[in-house]
């Protein structure tokens, strides 16, 4: 049997679609860990990127740090983290946290770099004009910089998501579940159907994540096209402050 047949046979076997080791359960585990890692990364990288981009201070070190972060292999990071997390929690500290934190670390650089790049690249004249109209720093960030940088920021989230979804497979080496289980077990059990099936599922999930985020990105861009960007400033209750009505 060639590998296409093997893969199809494995994927279409109803036995592989049920129970705690079935495809749906592994898919949920995979998505859960990926989302948790992305959330941790976003909580760290978004504010940091916004601050650095807005103040234009520390951009060099931030990009440098992100580059170093990208250069560290995730699996090495998992090995480094493991003894510490295992000491705190013998169960989850072995099977979940090393993968979770390594995946968060993997997602931080693209989100951080794209966020600060997006903010930095907002038209300086626009920022100057808003400042001249009396925008506070917070308003400037919320109403000018973030909306204009949003497609670039989302691009960072998008590439981080694809990387994390594909790399979470490593968790199976340290006994986590997820779709990597099929790959690791497939190799160990010399079960090529399971191995290729796992690969196909991971690739599909990464493509779906990539596709849906690309769609979100496009929708935002289109919305921006219909409504000129200064428009949102003239919100009820805000008019008259900072002379925003001049734009309305």
């Amino acid at each position: 049997m060639n590998f296409v047949d093997l893969t199809i046979t494995w994927l279409t076997d109803p036995a592989h679609w049920q129970g705690s080791g079935g495809i749906p359960a592994r898919l949920v585990e995979h998505i859960a860990l990926s989302l948790a890692a992305l959330a941790i990364a976003a909580v760290i990288a978004l504010p940091a990127g916004l601050m650095v981009g807005h103040t234009r201070r520390g951009a060099g070190p931030a990009v440098g740090l992100a580059t170093v972060g990208r250069a560290i292999p995730s699996f090495a990071l998992m090995g480094l983290i493991l003894p510490f997390t295992q000491a705190v929690d013998p169960a989850l500290g072995f099977t979940v946290y090393p993968t979770l934190f390594a995946m968060a670390a993997l997602a931080i650089p693209p989100i951080l770099v794209n966020t600060l790049t997006g903010i930095t690249e907002v038209d300086a004249d626009l920022v100057e004009a808003a400042r001249g109209m009396g925008f506070t720093q917070g308003q400037l960030l919320r109403r000018i910089e973030i909306p204009l940088a949003l497609p670039v920021i989302l691009g960072g989230v998008r590439s981080a998501t694809v990387q994390v979804v594909a790399t979470t497979t490593l968790g199976a080496i340290l006994a986590y579940g997820g779709l990597g289980r099929f790959i690791v077990d497939g190799i160990a059990q010399r079960d090529n159907g399971q191995l290729f099936g796992g690969v196909v599922l991971v690739a599909l999930l990464a493509l779906v994540a990539e596709g849906s985020l690309a769609l979100v990105q496009r929708l935002i861009a289109r919305r921006r096209g219909v409504r000129p960007s200064p428009r949102p400033m003239a919100e009820p209750g805000e008019a008259g402050r900072g002379g925003a009505e001049a734009f309305a």
């Binding site: 169960a91 072995f94 006994a175 690791v184 190799i187 160990a188 059990q189 010399r190």
Partner: protein, 303 residues
């Protein structure tokens, strides 16, 4: 003990004398090319056999030592890239005829010999030393639940966390054997690579309570862990035995003396000693050749 040593010494002396009496025989012998798998235990065994032969006047070529896993080393031996290789008879048999391996070393050796005979390879005597999958617990766990043998696990299995090799669920001598022989279900056990560091780390850090390790993994000795006796004999007997090419044996001046050297060495090695040698290499970072020499000296094979 002393008698044993004397016997071994006498045996090797005898081998030396008989080798010499064959008209300077050893000198006329072809060079013995030795090969092995890549991990340190296989390499130290190859080195031990090699040095024992050298002590008896044979010339040894070590190029093939550590050449790679069985997928590489087995064809290399079959094609004559080297003449001698230490083999694990249970896994070696499973490599050629999967599922035929048993818990009886004699049986495994006989079957392996039958498979290798047409390939022109002889299986010499197997050693008491074996490296097989072993279920290991921390000393504290063993004391707490009074665990000595695998059957002791049965009543307390639900209270313990198991770590098994990734191939365990589909491996007849692992998942199925645990279930039928000991009534232990490892479906939801933590799954990690076989005989590797993460499993030892998981056991050390209490992620799991019972771990499937290799019986000679140095972590067991280093941490004072307890290997549970496989009282229902579910694991295949993976005793070590040298495999030798028949065309080399045919060219030797004294085939019997050559085989005796190797058989005497195998007879003297045991699992505890092998575990200790592994520890000296992996933990104490000693040189493999030096570890081999020290062991051969202690046992009177080398002066």
């Amino acid at each position: 003990m002393r008698i044993f040593r004397g016997l071994a010494l006498g045996a090797s002396m005898l081998a030396l004398i008989s080798a010499c009496s064959a008209g300077g025989g050893a000198a006329n012998n072809p060079t013995v090319k030795i090969g092995s798998d890549g991990f340190y235990e296989a390499k130290v065994m190859a080195e031990i056999y090699g040095q024992a032969l050298e002590a008896n006047g044979y010339k040894v070529d070590r190029t093939g030592i550590g050449i790679g896993a069985r997928k590489v080393s087995a064809p290399a031996l079959e094609s004559g890239q080297f003449d001698l290789k230490p083999e694990y008879i249970g896994s070696g048999l499973a490599f050629y005829t999967p599922g035929k391996q048993t818990g009886d070393p004699k049986n495994n050796q006989t079957q392996l010999q039958a498979v290798l005979k047409p390939k022109g390879i002889t299986v010499l005597d197997y050693s008491p030393a074996a490296d097989q999958n072993a279920f290991v617990v921390r000393k504290a766990t063993a004391d707490q639940y009074k665990l000595v043998k695998m059957s002791d696990l049965t009543p307390v299995a639900a209270q313990l966390k198991f770590g098994v090799a990734t191939d365990c669920p589909t491996n007849p001598v692992c998942g199925a054997a645990l279930k039928t022989a000991y009534g232990i279900d490892v479906t939801n056990a933590t799954k990690l690579a076989a005989c590797d560091t993460p499993m030892a780390q998981a056991l050390l850090g209490k992620t799991i309570d019972v771990g499937e390790l290799c019986s000679t993994q140095p972590d067991i000795a280093v941490n004072g862990w307890v290997v549970l006796q496989d009282d229902k004999q579910t694991q295949p007997a993976d005793n070590l035995a040298p495999l030798v090419r028949d065309d080399l044996l045919a060219k030797l001046a004294d085939k019997a003396a050559f085989q005796k050297i190797l058989n005497d060495v195998s007879a003297k090695m045991d699992t505890a000693t092998l575990t200790d040698l592994n520890k000296q290499i992996a933990v104490d970072k000693k040189d493999i050749a030096a570890v081999a020499t020290a062991w051969l000296k202690t046992n009177g094979f080398v002066k």
